[in-house]
């Protein structure tokens, strides 16, 4: 059973090129789905489309197996969302902001206190939302999304503006919500490292096209294929000649020796060989395993 099924979505803005090209996104019930892509790839447009904030031009959107357009209010009752920057009424306090939405959702008033506790904003008192730091605003927005106890959370770059501690807290909170309350989460980010510890399924969007969708393990496997090992040595050209027979794909990049990713044993063996041949090894690092490189690799393939 899928919580979200967005099938063959295409979208273009007036006179512009296609910002989404035949996107298919399927989020399994109970999963944490990481929706990745660089800035401008089409993540927010996709999320705005599936939530009905943009008029659909082509494709099919279903939530919990039901067509969105025919069941809009019924479906939205089960969804909590945070799209891009925080949506808060600056002149109101945290409690008043939540009260605005509590009136609409008609959820119990005690939920306000519960979600404020959850995001650690229970003691903000009479402080207006406009006086909050960006991190506090982001957390209050999460509280808004959680207020009506949704079964599906759609979060667009929720860690924006959070400090490293805040990011860890956010990850922990989402993990708890998923594991203990069974909430399905769709979270977008432009940083794989930020959500790789959280998600079980991943979708990668690039230039408006879905270039990868599958499990995190499958993505890691691909990552391994494109990853490289970089040796910082004193005589790179000589080191390349020494290893040419064994690693013909090795190259020199920015004065460093670049090899395909290897096992720990193979790495140790190369190091020993270089040292034996009189080459000084200053450092060994893994390279090309950033998200952008994976995008490029996946796109090129």
């Amino acid at each position: 059973m899928y919580s979200i099924e967005a099938l063959n979505l295409s979208h273009h803005f007036t006179k512009g090129e296609r910002v989404l090209d035949d996107i298919t996104l399927q989020v399994k019930e109970g999963s944490i789905f990481g929706f990745l892509g660089p800035n401008g790839a089409g993540k927010t447009t996709t999320l705005r489309l599936i939530l009905g904030l943009l008029r659909k031009q082509q494709g099919d959107i279903r939530f919990f197996g039901k067509p969105f357009e025919q069941h809009r209010t019924e479906v939205l009752r089960q969804i909590g969302s945070l799209i891009e920057s925080p949506s808060l009424y600056g002149q109101l306090t945290a409690t008043e902001n939540l009260l605005v939405w509590q009136k609409v959702y008609q959820c119990p008033k005690k939920r306000i206190r519960e979600v404020l506790d959850l995001v650690d904003l229970a003691n903000t008192g009479a402080k207006k939302a406009s006086q909050f730091s960006l991190g506090m605003k982001q957390r209050l927005s999460i509280a808004v999304a959680l207020l009506h106890s949704p079964t599906l959370l759609i979060l667009d770059e929720p860690t924006n503006g959070l400090d490293p501690g805040g990011i860890v807290e956010m990850r922990t909170l989402l993990k708890i919500l998923n594991e203990e309350q069974g909430i399905t989460i769709l979270i977008s980010s432009h940083l794989l490292s930020e959500i790789e510890k959280l998600v079980s399924e991943v979708g990668i969007i690039h230039h408006g096209k879905m270039v990868f969708q599958g499990s995190l393990d499958a993505l890691m496997e691909r990552q391994q294929q494109v990853a490289s090992l970089i040796f910082e040595v004193n005589r790179a050209q000589q080191a390349l000649q020494i290893l040419a027979d064994q690693y013909p794909t090795a190259v020199i990049a920015q004065g460093k020796l670049k090899l395909p990713a290897l096992s720990n044993e193979a790495t140790a063996a190369i190091t020993r060989r270089l040292v034996t041949e009189g080459i000084d090894v200053y450092g060994i690092t893994r390279g090309d395993n950033d998200l952008e490189t994976i995008f490029m690799n996946i796109t090129n393939n």
């Binding site: 904030l53 943009l54 019924e74 939205l76 600056g90 609409v104």
Partner: protein
């Protein structure tokens, strides 16, 4: 639908708390009565004459409405409607509002209802101010209260017409404010139309301009000769424009491609 409208209305009303529009209503409501009160307190020798006047309340009501009807009320309505309708743009909250389980129709009409309620609130505060400004100086200086019985029916009727005559302004400002993110566009349009309406007051077809009805109502109240639209029921025109602008605004809102 009715229940969800009430919940939506409560939610929209909460959003006005501490907003600029809410302050505008309160301060605007008491502004002219405060000036009138000060003037009457400064000239207590005129109070006995006021007490004896057979039409004190009608005359005082007219004086209070003078600046209000010609300039302050249309301007206040332009500002308050624009501010309220723009609340979501300013706070970046359209996307949150449009992902709540509410029909777009409910959202549209609950927002409009809040604006109308605030206008009603303004009229109530303004009239409380008028009554206080009418009675207080007499109480303070120990001068007898106006001998004329307070004309409740007159107040209700005239206020109702002012309310009706403001409706086209509300509807048109609401329409523009929902369409443009830039606050200056609805504000500029409102001020522009207000100035145009003041210029067109003496024009025989001035009633075509939807912002002229408040001044016309005032001239009718003060029975100013030469200005006004004798023979034309401009209140009906006001209602007609209100319906027209509201329908147009609703259609544009519902069919908007981007909702946040």
């Amino acid at each position: 639908m009715t229940t969800s409208f009430i919940h939506s209305l409560q939610s929209e009303w909460l959003k006005t708390r501490r907003s600029l529009a809410a302050w505008l209503v309160i301060l605007g409501g008491f502004f002219i009565p405060l000036i009138m009160l000060t003037a009457r307190l400064l000239y207590p020798d005129r109070l006995p004459g006021d007490s004896a006047a057979p039409d004190f309340w009608e005359a005082f009501f007219g004086k209070c409405w003078q600046m209000m009807a010609l300039f302050l009320l249309p301007m206040g309505v332009v500002l308050a409607t624009t501010l309220l309708a723009q609340l979501e743009f300013r706070n970046n909250t359209w996307k949150q509002l449009h992902t709540t389980p509410q029909y777009l129709t409910t959202i549209f009409f609950s927002k409009l209802a809040v604006i109308l309620l605030m206008m009603l609130q303004f009229l109530i505060l303004f009239n409380i101010g008028i009554i206080l400004a009418g009675f207080l100086p007499h109480a303070i200086y120990g001068v007898p209260f106006p001998k004329e019985a307070f004309p409740v029916e007159f107040f209700l009727l005239k206020n109702t017409w002012f309310f009706v005559d403001c409706l086209p302004i509300v509807a048109l400002q609401y329409l523009i404010s929902l369409q443009f993110k830039n606050f200056m566009i609805p504000l500029g349009a409102g001020i522009g139309l207000m100035v145009a309406s003041l210029i067109a007051l003496e024009w025989e077809y001035g009633y075509f301009i939807p912002y002229t009805y408040c001044p016309y109502n005032f001239f009718e109240l003060r029975k100013v000769a030469g200005i006004g639209q004798q023979g034309v029921n401009f209140h009906l025109w006001a209602l007609g424009y209100f319906v027209l602008f509201t329908v147009l605004s609703y259609v544009l809102y519902i069919t908007k491609k981007e909702k946040g």
